[in-house]
Amino acid sequence: MLSRVMIQIITIRIVTTLHNIFILARYELSRMFLTRRGLLSLLAFALVWFLVLRYAIYGAAQFFMADSPGGLIVSFFNSTIINNLMSWQIPELAVFWVISLYLLPVFCVALTADQTASDRARGTLRLLHLRTTRDGIFFGRFFGQMLVLFVLVLLALLSTLVLILLRDDSLLIPALRLSFILLVNLLLVLLPYTALMAWVSSMARSARQATLYAVIIWIICSLVTGWLSSRFPGLWGLDKVLPGAQVSGLLQLSGWNTLSLAYLPIIQTGVLLFLGRLMMQRSDW
């Protein structure tokens, strides 16, 4: 009887925390789309993306279309990556894929640096903590940032789709199918970067401080793994520690085969969220 009551209480608490995670995550969307700073970030993203779309994606796609698999470009670069990209049915998406893999993580780090930092400095976290658990705040903010990134990637993909359809509207169905694959893959790529910023944000009191922590952690991890690799060449997995480690591998895959590397960002995200949660639980506000 007692255990049944306990199970009910625990269930209610879990449901309440999940409900609060959902509310806080949704609130992050309003932070992006209803505040001046959020709208400025959005404008900056839109401007950069317009330049990428107009000059990089459009220009490079024309360049790719002029060649064929095994043609001049491939023989010049002599690369399996270029060969793989040349095999894509829609060159705009192939270029989108390459650019996004390197550009979006930079946006991601800048956008998600302030998950809890400035709220900690201002004392707003205290007001939230009177109403929800530390887990609720931590995961609410993390999923909220992922929601914002989802919207941004979606907008970027939609703009590329428009570009494709302007060239050839018969490509709608294959473009949609490919876009969905890219959307899933890009979100997987961004997961560990967002989790890293959730961790460093839980230690910081401003977005700038969080970014500095991320840079320091990144450099130290690179140095340590580099040193360990040279010292112990047989040590497995050292090149897979940092977010984005799977990117070069991804460029050699296509279609749903790209998910064969999904385990890496998922494990990295799990570890980083564990560290962030630990910090959030143990810190004094």
């Binding site: 608490r13 309440t16 925390t17 409900h19 609060n20 509310i23 806080l24 609130y27 309003s30 932070r31 209803l34 505040t35 001046r36 700073r37 959020g38 709220d119 201002r122 004392g123 707003t124 205290r126 007001l127 939230l128 903590h129 009177l130 109403r131 929800t132 658990t133 530390r134 609720g136 143990r282 004094d284 506000w285």
Partner: protein
């Protein structure tokens, strides 16, 4: 009901002990004051009750639960000293979020936000950003967020700090009105204010509990407080003259202008009248004679 239970509570910052072995039990009821000089540990104790800080050692229970646990959400509310709302969102937007986190539906949250803002007479600030408000108005908005839902315990950390006299009075009235619904624990330096609102005092000093004092006790007979408008005679002379009154056992001077008379109220119930006659006879200019002693005299003298 047991409101707060602390056993051997210690909070260390490096080698400094902000709280040093606090044993304290408080029950629900009339408002309780938490006083002490700067660095006494008041804010640290508040922060630990709310779950913002973790104890270095010892135990703490609030309304039967550990601080920070979800069982306390909606039951415990607070106005933390340096907590501010997000300047990027409107006040209403943020208060609605708080209400939603407390389990209210979207519509209920909207209504509850309007209710608490009306309660602090700031309904017009719903769509305003926090930066557009004066310091006093911001404090009242922060007080409003503490009244959301039906909290059983409300902690107010320096609710009148930095407020002008009209806002202090407004805040005092708000606390008195709300105190019928919940138990308030109020931390402040303003002893006069606390005396008007609270019925008991928890006194901290250098991280240790000095004692728990009933304010009603200070109003009981046995003491007279004479506040002079002007000291027209030497302090020693005034003390000597007042000591001659039958039943007066001690006259202490508290600068700049206050004399505390300790007397036998049971045997000499007319002492207050005799003091008045003596003041008149000596031609001293006085401001007031109070039956009892001030909280400050009770705690520090």
């Amino acid at each position: 009901m047991n409101l707060l239970n602390c056993r051997g509570l210690v909070k260390k910052y490096g080698s400094t002990r902000a709280l040093d072995g606090i044993d304290l039990t408080l029950d629900a009821g009339a408002p309780i004051a938490l006083i002490g000089p700067n660095g006494a540990g008041k804010t640290t104790l508040f922060s630990m009750v709310c779950g913002f800080l973790r104890p270095s050692s010892g135990e703490i229970e609030v309304l039967g639960s550990k601080p920070g646990k979800s069982a306390l959400h909606s039951r415990l509310a607070a106005l933390p000293q340096d907590a501010n709302l997000d300047p990027r969102f409107s006040i209403g937007h943020q208060l609605v979020l708080f209400a939603r986190l407390q389990g209210l539906s979207a519509k209920q949250a909207q209504l509850e936000t309007q209710r608490v803002l009306e309660q602090v007479e700031l309904a017009q600030t719903f769509a305003m950003k926090p930066e557009a408000l004066s310091h006093g108005m911001r404090k009242r908005v922060m007080f409003a967020q503490a009244l959301m839902g039906k909290p059983e315990l409300v902690l107010l950390d320096e609710p009148t700090a930095g407020l002008d006299p009209p806002n202090v009075k407004a805040m005092r009235n708000l606390i008195s009105e709300a105190a019928t619904e919940a138990t308030f624990i109020i931390s402040s330096h303003n002893l006069d204010e606390l005396e008007k609102v609270c019925s008991s005092v928890v006194h901290l000093e250098k991280g240790k509990l000095k004692g728990v004092v009933s304010i009603d006790q200070s109003k009981s007979s046995g003491y007279l407080t004479l506040v002079m408008a002007e000291l027209t005679a030497e302090v020693e002379q005034i003390q000597a003259v007042l000591s001659e009154i039958a039943g007066v056992s001690a006259v202490n001077f508290n600068a700049p202008n206050r004399f505390l008379l300790d007397y036998d109220a049971a045997s000499y119930p007319q002492t207050d009248q005799q003091v008045m006659q003596k003041i008149s006879a000596m031609g001293w200019k006085y401001r007031q004679v109070v039956n009892g002693r001030t909280l400050e005299d009770q705690l520090y003298f």
